[in-house]
């Protein structure tokens, strides 16, 4: 998968293998491959190599690091690599996975002694609270999965392209109540390579470049919890937190734009409620209104803020959202055909964990 993705990235950019002198791996073994294997296996001559924790949260940090590396002269072209085969770990959440070696305070509150298998469990905890506090229901949540599946139906790369309905969602198996099968992503895997280069080099590439114009890091601490946004009271979160918190909106200042300039949003959607959490965290709607915002059609194609037009992790597949970044690039180059967001010029990556990147044409 790394080989295919790397070849495709070189073809797309017109760069040579020898131009790539930086590499950052997001998710190495056991789900993927490590930086040294990739560098050796592809015959690269790397001046700056790095690798993140084996988890799907570091995308914005990896892109920011790559941008800083080319900006500071550590490298000219950094290949950001995510290639994962979920089958290597068996069913996600099953015993013996690396996640459950860090109980409570670990990746997603794994706690085998209590039967807490995750990450679905963590998202389900947040979803239950969300339903209770804001009056939403599983039928409302279905609209997220249905909308994003419709997007996938327009994407030939998507693993699931068959349309689904709210009734299909309601008839799907309860996995970790209140979440159903169709609230869960596709854990097939895949490979993505994103090349980050100096702007002057990128301008000379085969296709029009996409510019990274603002970053915000992943937040961590007791305000944060897997599956939630701050202020939901999950794990040790305080309930007394403004939603959105103004400090999370600094990304717009970083990029020099107003939020209203954002033409589409891409977010980590391993579970459908993550979309609601991100919409509220970043103030695209008021606290507790994301389900109505979704029901009103805003997140679909043709809506005010199309979300995950590739079909997301929910329906395209789970490459830790690097597949979302590939879609952002395609959208900003008007390559998306039926699922093209009209006049897309500014696209935001933003998740329930507070990390964000602004991409511009």
């Amino acid at each position: 998968m790394v080989v295919d993705a790397f070849r495709n990235a070189l073809d797309d950019s017109g760069l040579q293998k020898s131009d790539v002198d930086g590499i950052i791996i997001n998710i190495g073994t056991p789900l993927g491959v490590d930086y040294d294997q990739v560098a050796e296996g592809l015959g690269l001559d790397i001046l700056m190599a790095d690798e993140t924790w084996t988890h799907g949260r570091q995308l914005a940090g990896v892109l920011a690091h790559a941008a800083m590396a080319v900006d500071s002269g550590l490298a000219n072209v950094v290949a950001c690599v995510c290639a994962i085969n979920w089958a290597r770990g068996g069913t996600v959440g099953s015993p013996g996975q690396n996640q459950d070696t860090r109980e409570i305070g670990g990746a997603h509150f794994e706690s085998p002694a209590y039967g807490m298998a995750s990450p679905g469990g963590a998202f389900a905890l947040a979803t239950r609270t969300y339903f209770d506090r804001y009056g939403a229901s599983s039928e409302d949540l279905a609209r997220v999965a249905v909308t994003i599946r419709h997007h996938a139906s327009l994407n030939p790369l998507a693993v699931r392209q068959d349309e689904i309905t709210v009734a299909d969602h309601q008839a799907s198996t309860l996995i970790c109540e209140p979440l159903r099968l169709l609230d869960y992503c596709q854990t097939t895997g895949g490979g993505c390579v994103v090349l980050v280069a100096r702007a002057d080099m990128a301008r000379d590439c085969r296709k029009p470049p996409v510019f990274l114009s603002g970053f915000q890091g992943m937040r961590a601490g007791r305000r944060e919890a897997t599956g939630a946004r701050p202020g939901l009271g999950i794990h040790q979160q305080s309930l007394a937190e403004p939603v959105p918190n103004p400090r999370d909106l600094k990304i717009y200042q970083e990029a020099g734009i107003e939020q209203s300039a954002v033409d589409a949003l891409y977010t980590y959607d391993a579970m459908s409620p993550a979309v609601w959490m991100a919409l509220e965290r970043f103030g695209f709607c008021a606290e507790g209104d994301a389900w109505q915002f979704t029901n009103d059609g805003h997140i679909g194609l043709g809506g005010s803020l199309p979300v995950n037009t590739n079909g997301g992790l929910l329906s395209e597949t789970h490459v830790s959202s690097w597949n979302h970044i590939c879609e952002i690039v395609r959208q900003l180059r008007d390559e998306c055909g039926e699922r093209q967001v009209e006049n897309a010029e500014v696209i935001q990556w933003a998740t329930n964990r507070g990390d964000s990147v602004i991409f511009r044409k």
Partner: protein, 133 residues
């Protein structure tokens, strides 16, 4: 297939928690300097970084902050109990614990319901659980 549920992974930080659970006592770390309780167990007070703390018995009372019901069986030892719940309990002292709620029908669980600690004696360990008042 063993029917013994998975044991907690014991670390230097949580060892006392489960030792006291073995004596049917629910104890948390309480800072000797600032008085805060915290969870999950850790090396220092999360408020003031003090290493002076005492494993202090708590009232064992709390409310249900959230809960889930596992229908899919990830851990085969839970197959007989499925569907089973996992609840997030907010203790009267503040910290929240992830545990099971026993002695309650799935349909009777409600956010904010009052719970008290109970202990499940397993062949190789004792784990705190909660039950409706």
């Amino acid at each position: 297939m063993s029917s013994v549920k998975p044991s907690p992974t014991i670390s230097d930080y949580n060892r006392p928690f489960y030792k006291y659970a073995g004596e049917h006592e629910l104890r948390l770390q309480k800072c000797d300097d600032c008085g805060d309780f915290w969870a999950p167990p850790g090396p220092v007070c999360v408020n003031c970084l003090s290493t002076n703390y005492t494993w202090t018995q708590v009232a064992g009372k709390g409310t249900l902050a959230s809960w889930v019901i596992f229908h899919k069986v990830y851990y085969p030892e839970f197959a007989e109990e499925a569907p089973y719940n996992v609840g997030l309990i907010e203790l009267a002292e503040g910290p929240r614990l992830l545990t099971n709620i026993v002695g309650a029908e799935a349909g009777s669980l409600e956010r904010g319901m009052q719970l008290v600690v109970t202990f499940e004696d397993r062949p190789d360990c004792v784990v705190p659980q909660f039950t409706p008042v």
